[in-house]
């Protein structure tokens, strides 16, 4: 596309602009509302610096991130494996399908409480509960991906006797990539939301624990502070890890070269 080169140069400014625009809108809304339940960005920043100064912020953030990371890896791994198998084998799909729908629609609360009751009030129970909540989502997304696999490429691989590993790495995974990206990105967000509930119900630290503590006091600035601190971490992960990786993995698409500049 003409002009796409120029767009590359605008990337950071556009993003910055977008973030600044958000902050400006928020500040304006806070000034207009003029109520304690609607704190402005400065109040939230103020809270965050205080909380960061006494180390609380990083302590809880780190713990929550560790839980999110563990549950994410487990859920993506198991979910992708099961989803691809179900997408490829119709019998298995029919057999497991009701279970997936059940797990998908079981309220987080139920799964979490059952995990805490059965496994105990432990870290393992917390991570298991979160992973169990997320796995069916990954399964459902990756199953669609596996169903949309190009049979022509699969046939090619069969004729040239690709080993299982080669088939997976060079034929299947690249085709699943958009689905993995979708499942991963919305998955990270979902997991973090469930971690909040898990921490509320049975953990003694973490961002979710803090948010609920402040929710009892109805301290909106503190709630927003912790929420946005996590959002910032996610923004960093997105821009420092995910998007460069995505650009690299998509470099074969025509026009990718000029776009990535």
């Amino acid at each position: 596309m003409a002009g796409s080169d120029a767009a590359g140069a605008f990337r950071l400014p556009l993003r910055l602009l977008s973030i600044l625009g958000f902050l400006a809108l928020w500040a304006l809304a806070a000034v207009l509302a003029d109520r304690a339940e609607v704190p402005g960005p400065l109040e939230v920043l103020d809270f965050l610096t205080r909380e960061a100064a006494d180390g609380q912020l990083f302590y809880h953030l780190a713990i929550t991130l560790a839980r999110v990371a563990a549950a994410f890896l487990i859920a993506m791994f198991i979910g992708t494996a099961v989803g691809v198998m179900m997408g490829q084998h119709r019998r298995l799909d029919r057999l497991l399908d009701p279970w997936v729908i059940l797990m998908l629609n079981l309220p987080a609360l139920v799964v979490i409480v059952l995990c805490y009751i059965w496994i105990g009030l432990t870290e393992a129970a917390a991570v298991t509960a979160v992973a169990l909540n997320k796995i069916p989502n990954v399964v459902v997304t990756l199953r669609e991906g596996a169903k949309a696999l190009d049979p022509r490429l699969m046939e090619m691989a069969q004729v040239f006797r690709f080993s299982r590993l080669r088939l997976l790495r060079h034929v299947i995974l690249p085709q699943l990539f958009p689905f993995i990206a979708a499942a991963g990105r919305s998955g990270l967000a979902l997991i973090w939301k469930i971690v909040l509930v898990v921490e509320l119900l049975g953990r003694s630290n973490g961002v979710g624990f803090q948010i609920h503590l402040y929710f009892q006091l109805f301290d909106v600035a503190a709630i927003l502070g912790y929420a946005l601190a996590f959002v910032c971490v996610m923004l960093c992960i997105e821009y420092i890890v995910v998007q460069p990786l995505e650009t690299h993995l998509n470099r074969w698409r025509p026009g990718a070269a000029s776009r990535a500049a």
Binding site: R152, E155, M156, V159, F160, R161, H170, L249, W252
Partner: protein, 248 residues
């Protein structure tokens, strides 16, 4: 040195069921044997079932009545599909290397592909992705992939369309060389009867609905004499004998 295989094909019936529920019989009572090291061309009108036959031979379609035997099993096989079927997310060179048999995958074991790429005019394009190639170039990569395997059994589905005559001639020549050097068994589909007569030992003519074998003709011209008048005469005879199937 491994030995190329003998291929027995017997397709009693192949029926496709399309989305509107209609069932169409495409192939009926098709039987032939390819002896080791032979070069056979399959000719027939568009849509008659040539690709279907190749897919059955390749083991990609098992939903048919009949039997395909390839002995001994474990032969090296390669195919050039009617469309290039390259992995869009792998470069030209990766596409070729990934198709090599496992024992040639390692960095030390990998064959030198320079000569092959040179013949195919792909030397400067090794690092390109398939979507950056013209259709003719993509087709050449698909040919390179099949040639690089050095197969015992090679199936080609209209391999030389979308190429200009210069490069097509060079590639036909290369195919013959490979065939002779490996003593490979080759089955090739083409609409170009002249090409078929120049390359093959034997022509299988397919026609009808459902398609049957309407002709099984040995090419009576010695390979050395295939540039000559003799080939022209053979083609004229063929056209007369099978007016529905052949137009040379």
């Amino acid at each position: 040195m491994r030995h190329p295989g003998q291929l027995d094909v017997r397709i009693d019936s192949k029926i496709f069921r399309s989305a509107d529920g209609a069932a169409t019989q495409v192939l009926c009572g098709l039987g032939f044997t390819l002896s080791p090291g032979s070069f056979t061309c399959l000719i027939g009108p568009s849509g008659c079932g040539k690709t279907t036959t190749l897919r059955i031979v390749l083991g990609l379609d098992r939903d048919f009545a009949g039997k395909v035997t390839l002995s001994p099993p474990g032969l090296r096989m390669a195919a050039v599909f009617q469309e290039p079927r390259l992995l869009p997310w792998r470069t030209v060179e990766q596409n070729v290397r990934l198709a090599l048999p496992p024992e040639e995958q390692g960095p030390g074991a990998a064959p030198d592909l320079d000569a092959l790429f040179a013949v195919l005019g792909l030397k400067d394009l090794r690092a390109r992705y398939p979507d950056e190639l013209s259709v003719g170039l993509a087709r050449r990569v698909a040919l390179a992939r099949a040639f690089a395997v050095m197969p015992d059994l090679l199936l080609l589905d209209e391999p030389f369309v979308s190429l200009d005559e210069h490069i097509a001639d060079r590639l036909r020549h290369h195919l013959l060389q490979l065939w002779q050097a490996r003593a490979a068994t080759v089955l090739m589909v083409t609409h170009n009867v002249r090409e078929a007569a120049r390359l093959a030992d034997r022509l299988l003519l397919l026609n009808g609905r459902p398609a049957r074998l309407v002709g099984d003709v040995a090419v009576p011209v010695a390979r050395a004499a295939r540039g000559s008048e003799a080939l022209g005469r053979f083609l004229d005879d063929l056209t007369r004998e099978f007016p529905e199937t052949v137009l040379a």
